[in-house]
Point group: C2
Chain length 192, copies 2
DNA sequence: GATTAAAACCTAATAGCTTTAGGTTTCTCC
DNA sequence: GGAGAAACCTAAAGCTATTAGGTTTTAATC
């Protein structure tokens, strides 16, 4: 029985690719075993269980997304940075729908504390600081931003916009304008 | 073999309750069969397959949510109506997490064309008309509203806000303020 | 009440997935 | 070469979804 020379990273990467090709739910231990030419049970040498594998794909996606955002927002501020950050999310979701779907599941504690998650939060805060929001309001703004972006992408991915007029791109621009407006007119300290 | 006197509606309602109690993924044909004291295969007399059952739970949830929104926004306009509509969503998601989760799946064509879906859209448009948005902008605004609300609730449900400061309620208020601001300052025709 | 047909139920089977326990093989180090 | 660890396999158990065909119940008609 020749060794397939698997490692956790190799298995996780294959799972991510499988998700992008066939959907997040297509990540199964049995499908991956077929892909590597080993028995399903053999994969437990490399991943604790299916749930841990999915957590790992999520963390991989967080890191990749953070990388893309870092590049996208470099040298930009306010509306430009907001657009760049949001577009990075949307491009990622469109290019890697399976990886993006992995981001929608509840995060394990280790993932919340991961380097990748920390980077993503830091980049988002950096972008928002360009709007001179009160320090105490930054978390609220971060949550709104995340909610709007992910909410929009979730609807888009679910086909809620279908092939209906107006095109989703225009709605996306409107959403970004709305966010920009909201951040520029954010109520100051004590006014809420 | 006594008849369990099942009907599609009875099965769908039980599925919805099961989802609220144990999570959306807990809706399985076998769990429902155990609940009714019949064999799993017997349920196929009442539902086409699992997917169709989940579609039906979604449509049930759409109708219930529309009912609640209709009551909540009655007699209100602008910021009040917006708050009432959004709070109806959030209250529903918190009281019926399983039903709410059913709303997140891609809608079947029959669901998109359902009475319930139509009512929900009409109610949302009615609320938005209180902002005097240009007619051509209403769909964009509807999409932004849906995205923000559902995005926020998805994050909340996923535990993204955890038990972290600041409390999610405050962030919710901020989000509603942001939406109100966005709708009041929505770019007029030709400015986007 | 008897008959008929349809619907609701059951049985059996198939196919697929996840995971555990214990056995076998491969690889690395001494 | 030997020892030990890790990676692999086999076997089994448990769960789910679904189909095909058989059995039972029910409602309608005469």
């Amino acid at each position: 029985m020749a060794r397939a020379n698997l490692t956790p990273a190799v298995v996780i990467a294959a799972a991510a690719q499988l998700a992008d090709r066939e959907g997040f739910d297509a990540i199964t231990l049995s499908a991956l075993a077929r892909h590597f030419g080993v028995q399903t049970a053999s994969l437990y040498s490399h991943v604790r269980d299916r749930s841990a594998l999915l957590d790992s794909v999520q963390e991989l996606a967080l890191g990749e997304l953070a990388d893309r955002i870092a590049i996208a927002i470099g040298g930009r501020s306010q509306r430009d940075a907001l657009t760049a950050l949001a577009d990075a999310h949307r491009d990622y979701a469109r290019q890697f729908p399976g990886r993006w779907a992995a981001l929608q599941r509840p995060a394990a504690a280790t993932t919340v504390r991961s380097d990748a998650a920390g980077r993503l939060v830091a980049l988002t805060l950096a972008m928002l600081r360009g709007y001179q929001l009160p320090e105490t309001e930054l978390v609220h703004a971060t949550r709104l931003l995340g909610a709007t972006i992910n909410g929009f992408l979730a609807l888009e991915v679910a086909g809620s916009f279908g092939h209906r007029e107006p095109p989703a791109d225009a709605s996306w621009q409107r959403a970004l304008s709305a966010l920009d407006t909201a951040f520029r007119f954010w109520p100051t300290e004590g006014n809420h």
